[in-house]
């Protein structure tokens, strides 16, 4: 299950409007969805934000991957729903669930449609040093590799008679040691060899570097960026200045 969940954040090469957008635009879009979901705390406006972000997911043809990550978090949704409906009200609990769905959707939207290299690009254009941006994009690049490696390790240990699902809670936690130790060691080894191969290719030798692809802000990028910045401004204004319209405050009867 845990491994499946990461699939929802793994870049898939596709040719859609969203995939072609500038990574900075996508960053703005995802952050806007995050921020306005944080500002709103009622069902209707949160649902509105959800519809917008879901539309984008459908345009990017990534609904299956998105659904996998939502499904992976189903336990968390259940906890939020139960805890909040006891602590506050069912309406609030549902609103919080939608908020979490929006968060996941925002992250999926960005990571499913942005190549790790473009991610680094976007960060650099935000004046983050190349080394840090590169490290960040490398980290996301290795998430699926790590997931695959974890699977192989689990299979190797199961072949030695390890039963992951056996025993009480403590035993199950202990069962993870034979998985985690090799995973950490393999990761460190890989990090060292990646570092060596980077250095042998003159990583960081000069301050200013050139790039294979130059980022270009097109018409769609301007449109989308303005639309989503508009969304944030609108959500802030309705929440803090004007007050919600009546429909926004509708709640469940219980």
């Amino acid at each position: 299950m845990a491994i499946e969940m990461f699939r929802g954040f793994e870049f898939k090469r596709r040719d859609t409007l969203i995939h072609r957008l500038d990574p900075r635009t996508k960053l703005i879009m995802s952050l806007s969805i995050l921020v306005s979901s944080l500002i709103f705390d009622k069902i209707i406006p949160l649902l509105l934000v959800f519809l917008i972000s879901f539309a984008l997911i459908s345009i990017s043809k990534s609904v299956t991957e998105w659904y996998k990550s939502i499904k992976g978090l189903s336990v968390l949704f259940l906890i939020i729903l139960i805890v909040n409906s006891f602590a506050y009200s069912l309406s609030f609990a549902i609103a919080m669930c939608i908020r979490l769905v929006n968060f996941v959707t925002a992250f999926s939207l960005f990571f499913l449609t942005t190549h790790p290299d473009d991610l680094a690009h976007a960060l650099i254009s935000l004046r983050i040093p190349f080394e840090i941006a590169f490290a960040f994009s490398m980290a996301t690049r290795y998430v699926p590799t790590l997931a695959r490696e974890a699977q192989i390790i689990a299979e190797a240990q199961m072949s030695r008679g390890l039963e992951l699902q056996k025993g009480g809670f403590l035993q199950r936690v202990r069962n993870l040691i034979p998985l985690i130790v090799p995973l950490v060691i393999c990761s460190i080894k890989r990090a060292l060899s990646v570092a060596e191969s980077l250095e042998s290719r003159c990583f960081g030798a000069v301050k200013k570097r050139t790039y294979l692809h130059e980022l270009k802000f097109g018409l769609w990028d301007f449109l989308m960026s303005f639309a989503f910045l508009g969304l944030v401004i609108w959500s802030a204004v309705t929440t803090f200045l004007v007050g919600y319209p009546r429909v926004f405050t509708l709640e469940l009867p219980i």
Binding site: I153, E155, S159, R160, G161, E163, P182
Partner: protein, 272 residues
Amino acid sequence: MIEVVDVWYRYPEGSVALRGVSLQIERGEFIAIMGENGAGKTTLIKHFNGLLKPQRGEVFVDGINTKESSIAELSKKVGVVFQNPDHQLFSSTVEEEIMFSLNNLNIDADEARRRMEWVLKLLDLERYRKRSPFSLSGGEKKRLALATILCMKPKVLVLDEPTMGQDFEQKMKLAELLQNLVRKGTTVVVVTHDVEFAAMYFPRVVLMARGRIIADGVPEDVLTNDEILRRASLIPPQATKIAWEVSRELEDFPRKIIRVKELYEAVISLVR
């Protein structure tokens, strides 16, 4: 011992790894499975101990359908040694590493101790018993990985690429060890890219390509069939290549030669 009946397997990512594979492995056989990367070799051997269950078709181990048994239960019968030992070593000493497998099978302390001593000696790891597995060399780690499986005394031993990164001497030692196990009744299945290794030691070779078995027989037939080798992207053993070259000049020179010794005998008999 192992019966694979028309097995199909497709990975969740969408690639079809096995397309109707059928294979019969008898007790005490010594088999090499060969083929290019992505031919489905590793996918096939993962079916032997239930790590993967066939989506279509059936796999029987010792008469038991793998679909009706757990991996832990099957791994008592079929021991699979994976390619990369780094994917399974985690203990602080070599001894503990071996004990981990034995404890998983709930084997009593005396017997476990005996088996550990046996396997340490067999794989020439006695002097490392208190060392950390991570401090061992690549070849030693591979031997330790084999030890952690061998100590469970499986009826079938399956090795994925055991010769990779091993020098010639280690390869010979490994082959001797495997031959000894076969003599004592263990069934041994080895996945390998190493044509010379397969030609030297194995009485039966199975060739795979694109999820299918394309040849299955004695190496003298399988590894000297030009067309089949090309389909599996394999190059024939060096002795075979020489025999082919010679047979182009001399018509009745034997073409089904795979070992240096046979080549030598053929040349000598020609000269005489």
